[in-house]
């Protein structure tokens, strides 16, 4: 009886993968504020803040770079992604199918789902470091790539299974969970950071800045790590969610919004999660370094536990879940577009299993800054292409959504744009020495230009 009820609930999950969101399912601005705050006050925040310390960011660069980078990210959501989301109310995957054709969308969806799996895997790994505290799980070294042992694998499997089951029940449940946890999480970050300040020698507010400069964000990277400058920080803050704003993945989320201004609600995530939480977790790591500095180890769970006790460890677990859940959900949607007849929950189960497997490798956490930049870069050209197709093509007399209009299985200009822009980014990196964090901006314009050019030639040939 129980199993039948459970299955009926799973079968009833409808996420409108191939149809516009009806009016009754639209959500308020406040709902998006909570969702973004929850999603971006996440397990990765416990990693990214410390990685800035490890990469030798200076205090001044960090405060200013994060401020400007986060403002640019919010503007990208509000002016690039949200207007298309509320006009069309379709998932990114369905819109791409109409533009690129089913074959290219198939490849894109596979790459996208895989990237989302790795990202969600990092969150699960972060949560597992907290779950492992009672079991005496040793902290991983900064240079670790492979699983440390069976205990680590068992913990990751447990956390991954729970996360997958929650994601299987659909977006509403994920959102409810994020809404409940979001205000509490940010306060735990804040409280933990304030409480450990005396351990760093700060007993008055005016002592904070000198300590921030000399002890926390010293500007000197850990041995073997590349230095992060102001520009690294600005571009990282702007583009760490590149796939979601200028890459348009959040069309799938913002299509539930009543108005395009819901895009500004991303400020909740940027300024609480990607500002307060990054600074707070950097402070916590500076305290952790006082004890383990020579060992070159890092584990978000013990870092938070040392400062905030059980509540801190709990926060790491919850923070991991609130981001892993929507990320697994997004990956599920990506695969759903490949198999429209398959039930959403079955696809989410497959995605959750791949995610859990990826989470077993600590390299995903230790190289998170680089991975986040790569994942955004790989997916970004499709966002540029969609933007061009939606806004510029009608004004230039070109046919929008050409694959759907002409019944094409593969839109060659889209394939050339994706491959060509990534090749151009690789060339910029190799020949001009541009680091991966800076490739997103030129890459977006290259992709937009390439798609315009190739589509112009392609559509001219189609009509003659």
């Amino acid at each position: 009886m129980g199993v039948a009820k459970w299955q009926a609930r799973l079968e009833a999950v409808n996420e409108y993968e191939r149809e516009p969101i009806p009016e009754t399912r639209r959500r308020s601005w406040g709902s998006f504020l909570s969702m973004y705050a929850g999603e971006h006050t996440a397990g990765t925040e416990f990693v990214i803040g410390p990685l800035f310390v490890i990469r030798g960011a200076s205090a001044g660069d960090l405060v200013l770079g994060l401020l400007l980078g986060n403002i640019l990210a919010v503007l990208s959501w509000a002016f690039i992604c949200a207007p298309i989301a509320v006009r069309e109310r379709q998932t990114l995957y369905y819109m791409l199918e109409r533009i690129c054709g089913s074959r290219l969308t198939l490849i894109y969806n596979l790459v996208n789902a895989l990237m989302f799996c790795f990202l969600a895997g990092a969150m699960i790994a972060v949560a597992a470091t907290a779950v492992g505290i009672p079991f005496g799980l040793p902290a991983a070294r900064l240079t670790d790539w492979l699983p440390s042992g069976w205990l680590w694998i068992a913990l990751v499997a447990g956390v991954g299974m729970v996360t997958t089951v929650v994601a299987m029940l659909g977006y509403q449940l994920v959102e409810r969970f994020a809404v409940i946890a979001a205000p509490w999480m940010i306060l735990v970050f804040l409280a933990a950071a304030i409480a450990v300040l005396p351990n760093l020698g700060v007993t008055h507010w005016r002592e904070f800045w000198p300590v921030a400069q000399d002890i926390i964000w010293t500007g000197t990277p850990a041995p073997g790590q590349d230095k992060f400058t102001f520009w690294h920080i600005l571009f990282f803050a702007w583009f760490c969610n590149m796939a979601m704003h200028i890459g348009m993945a959040d069309l799938s989320i913002l299509r539930y919004a009543r108005r395009w201004t819901a895009g500004f609600a991303s400020a909740g995530g940027m300024f609480l999660g990607h500002y307060v939480a990054w600074l707070a977790s950097g402070i916590l790591y500076a305290v952790f370094l006082q004890q383990y500095g020579q060992q070159q180890v890092f584990a978000p769970g013990p870092v938070a536990y040392g400062a905030a006790g059980i509540a801190g460890a709990l926060c790491v677990v919850v923070a991991g879940w609130t981001t892993a859940n929507p990320t697994i959900y997004r990956a599920g949607l990506a695969l759903q577009a490949l198999m429209p007849l398959a039930r959403t929950w079955k696809i989410t189960l497959v995605v959750g299993s791949i995610t859990t497997l990826a989470a077993c490798f600590p390299a995903l956490v230790m190289k998170l800054l680089d991975f986040v930049a790569l994942y955004g870069l790989v997916l970004m050209p499709m966002g540029a292409l969609l933007f061009t197709d939606y806004w510029l093509f009608p004004r230039m007399g070109l046919q929008s959504s050409i694959a759907s209009a002409r019944g094409l299985a593969l839109n060659w200009p889209a394939l050339i744009t994706w491959g060509g822009s990534l090749a151009a980014c690789a060339a910029l990196s190799h020949f001009a020495g541009l680091e991966i964090f800076f490739l997103g901006l030129p890459g977006w314009f290259i992709a937009a230009f390439l798609y315009l050019l190739t589509s112009f030639i392609h559509q001219k040939n189609l009509t003659t």
Binding site: A192, V196, T203
Partner: protein, 53 residues
């Protein structure tokens, strides 16, 4: 009932954040602050969970 739950939520958040200020000003130990944070977390999740269901 709703009012009581809302009050409990706020109390939970206050217990999570405010004792850390006492630690900062040297009026409370870090360990005792951790107890307060845990109590605040439990209050928050129970009250918020009940109010949302």
């Amino acid at each position: 009932m709703k009012l009581l739950l809302r009050f409990t939520e706020i109390l939970g958040l206050c217990l999570t954040l405010l004792p850390s200020l006492a630690v900062f000003f040297g009026r409370l130990s870090l360990e005792r602050n951790q107890d307060f944070m845990l109590a605040g977390s439990i209050l928050w999740f129970v009250a918020r969970g009940l109010r949302k269901t």
